[in-house]
């Protein structure tokens, strides 16, 4: 209401000039025209420049592709989608600025935002405070239990409870983890540690690398000293990805397991083979996935964005998120109000036949089930899929006692700090 009043005084003050009032009248016509169409506004806050950009520009494209497809077929419940896109520049403070702007000034019905977990935790309090609804379309360390957030990315119980036991069976039980030193890396490493222990393995080393570090000689030596059977690499950002080249040229050729590589930064396309040979990644989608649905998706994508370097899992997550939101709004009889949307989610019947396979939103955690593909990087950097796990549920929050249909703690839980069951 305040903004409306401000707008009125603004226009009265300016109305003194005849030319200005003519311009304002024109604006008035435009505004009424768009009001008649009454679009659903989707705010998009993704990094289109900076350290994370190679992995995240395609997320914006995925949202644009889905919005175009939906608009061409009549929109969401008869209303067209309007995208409000900001470049967050891989900078957490930008997320905070733009999240306020997109919710308060642009009045977006829903926001799709964020790559790094640090950025998500930077904007999440603002979403809660302004009672917004936000999709986080990214794999991450899991545990966000917040009714204002919907997560379409894969979580550790989906990526690690499949990957780590498979690797231990194939290569051996001694594991070394190197991880980016912030919430994502720390919590993911905790997951790896727990799964290794549960399966009778041994952590022979664990190191957390500050973001921005690009020189790894000593780390490579420490790994060689510990003699693991395989290395879990949870490195993030372009500086840290220098590790692979340096490890290879330093003669470290152990199998690698990861939840972040290939599926996000398409390192197998960017680095010279065989730098990444023998790396195993669990991902819910990459463009090499060899199903008719996936091939059709890639074809439609390339028709719209012919120069896309790679369609990664977050691109697919972002794409399907638009369709999931459509499903929610239509199940809520066309309402974009958050209580109505949440009632639609609580039915447990929000799903979509995505390029990866069928996905469903879990009402307890507002996370999503996934088909998990085990991707192996071959010597020539082609991809093969030694194993596929269909319909892996985001079970952890629910099993640990969280239930967003009953209470809304606005918290991120970790395995060492689980929900308190009453």
């Amino acid at each position: 209401m305040n903004t409306l009043a401000n707008l009125c005084t603004f226009s009265i003050r300016r109305a003194a000039g005849a030319r200005f009032s003519a311009v304002l009248a024109l604006f008035g016509v435009l505004i009424t025209a768009s009001l008649a169409a009454d679009p659903i506004k989707i705010g998009v806050l993704e990094d289109q420049s900076g350290d994370f950009a190679p992995a995240t520009i395609c997320k914006v494209h995925g949202i644009q592709l889905a919005a175009d497809e939906i608009n061409a077929k009549g929109g969401i419940a008869g209303r067209p989608i309007e995208l409000v896109i900001y470049d967050t520049q891989s900078d957490n403070t930008r997320y905070q600025e733009f999240m306020r702007r997109v919710l308060q000034k642009d009045k977006a019905d829903v926001v799709f935002a964020g790559f790094s977990s640090a950025s998500r935790e930077a904007y999440r309090p603002i979403v809660d405070q302004l009672h917004g609804l936000c999709f986080y379309n990214n794999q991450y360390e899991g545990g966000v239990c917040d009714a204002n957030m919907i997560v379409t990315g894969a979580v550790p119980e989906q990526q690690f409870s499949t990957l780590i036991p498979w690797m231990m069976e194939k290569y051996g039980k001694k594991v070394y983890t190197i991880a980016a030193n912030y919430n994502f890396g720390q919590i993911s490493a905790e997951w790896v540690r727990n799964i290794v222990k549960k399966n009778g393995g041994e952590m022979v080393g664990e190191e957390f690398i500050p973001l921005g570090v690009s020189q790894f000689s000593q780390t490579i030596k420490n790994i060689q000293a510990a003699k693991p059977d395989f290395v879990v690499t949870l490195l993030v950002g372009t500086a840290q990805s220098s590790y692979y080249e340096q490890a290879r040229s330093g003669g470290l050729q152990l199998p690698m397991a990861s939840s972040v590589n290939i599926g996000q930064g398409y390192e197998h396309k960017r680095f010279k083979p065989p730098t990444l040979a023998n790396m195993y990644v669990t991902t819910n989608y990459i463009e090499e996935v060899d199903t008719p649905e996936s091939k059709d998706f890639v074809k439609r994508w390339r028709a719209k964005f012919p120069n896309e370097p790679y369609i990664n899992q977050e691109a697919e997550n972002s794409y399907l998120a638009v369709y999931l939101y459509k499903e929610m709004v239509e199940k809520a009889n066309g309402s974009t109000k958050i209580p109505d949307i949440r009632k639609a989610i609580a039915t447990g019947d929000i799903n979509f036949d995505a390029p990866e396979g069928k996905v469903t939103i879990d009402p307890k955690s507002q996370h999503m089930s996934h088909t998990i593909y085990l991707a192996r990087v071959n010597d020539d950097h082609s991809i093969s899929f030694p194993k596929i796990w269909p319909d892996i549920k985001p079970y952890w929050l629910g099993e640990a006692g969280a239930d967003l249909t009953k209470s809304n703690p606005h918290t991120q839980y970790t395995p060492s700090n689980p929900p308190k069951v009453p």
């Binding site: 350290d51 190191e207 500050p210 000689s217 000593q218 372009t238 340096q246 960017r270």
Partner: protein, 290 residues
């Protein structure tokens, strides 16, 4: 594990850390030590060298030629920048910070717009060798040798060539040098070009080992400034020993407790040196001498 291979491993790590510091900082030290200009765009000259090298390698040129071309390109861009901007700011070190910072933003964002957010890498040559239980990269030894050679060549250039004499004269008493017929403007331009070219050389040398992005210079810039600050104004008795001291500190603590501890130790060492020797290592060495 026998003592010989352990010792080699330790020396290799120190050499690797010190070579990175030397290569990252010499270009900055030349521009700061000889011209009093604080060059915030140093990282972007490194990036230009790396990109120039990668482009030349993709055009089919051998790596050493490509690295030479990359550093020449960075040097030429440096001379253009000096002529357009820096030459108006001599004697105003604080203003050079703002101007070069602006230039650095223009360069990194301009590269992002023109060439995109990432660039295909080069691939590290030579492979690896084993000593005891550990394997090492040959190319890392090349980097260490390059750091030593660079210091030696720079010493020759400054102390044994006509350009070196003229440059030192210009830096010491500019108007006197000018009165004696030295074209000081050209000297300044060449010196800045030399600094940018050295940065480009660093970029070219590290291009095969790193991910190529427009912001890649920023991973060098912290270490570069830290080394120059610890070293003080003189390159040979400042930068080189500073790189040695900081390299040992970083390698020791990284091998003991990992990268995070290594970085913390590096920065604590910097604070200690600055607190105890405000003019850096070179200031202290000069004072001891006199």
């Amino acid at each position: 594990m026998d003592i010989g291979s352990a010792l080699f491993g330790f020396l290799y790590q120190i050499g690797d850390a010190a070579a990175f510091l030397v290569l990252a900082s010499t270009g900055l030290a030349v521009v700061f030590g000889m011209m009093g200009v604080i060059n915030m765009a140093h990282g972007e000259f490194i990036m230009f060298g790396a990109y120039g090298t990668a482009i030349a390698v993709r055009a089919g040129l051998p790596l050493p030629v490509a690295i030479t071309l990359g550093s020449l390109m960075a040097g030429v861009i440096g001379m253009v920048v000096e002529r357009l901007v820096i030459c108006r700011l001599y004697g105003r070190p604080l203003d050079t910070i703002v101007a070069t910072w602006g230039i650095s933003l223009i360069f990194s964002q301009g590269t992002l717009i023109l060439l995109g957010s990432s660039f295909p890498g080069v691939g590290t040559p030579f492979g690896s060798f084993a000593v005891g239980a550990y394997s090492y990269s040959w190319y890392r030894l090349v980097l260490m040798a390059a750091a030593l050679l660079l210091l030696f060549a720079l010493w020759l250039l400054v102390n044994r060539t006509r350009f070196g004499v003229l440059a030192r004269a210009t830096i010491q008493v500019p108007h006197m040098a000018e009165a004696l017929g030295v074209k000081t403007r050209t000297i300044y331009s060449l010196t800045f070009g030399l600094g940018a070219g050295l940065a480009g050389l660093t970029g070219g040398l590290y291009a095969p080992t790193m991910t190529m992005v427009p912001t890649m210079g920023s991973t060098f810039i912290l270490e570069a400034f830290v080394t120059v600050v610890v070293g003080g104004a003189d390159i040979f008795i400042g930068t080189a020993p500073a790189a040695g001291v900081l390299g040992i500190t970083k390698a020791l603590f990284t091998s003991w407790q990992g990268q995070l501890t290594g970085q913390i130790a590096l920065l604590i060492a910097v604070i200690l040196v600055i607190r105890l020797l405000p003019k850096g290592l070179s200031g202290w060495i000069l004072k001891e001498r006199s």
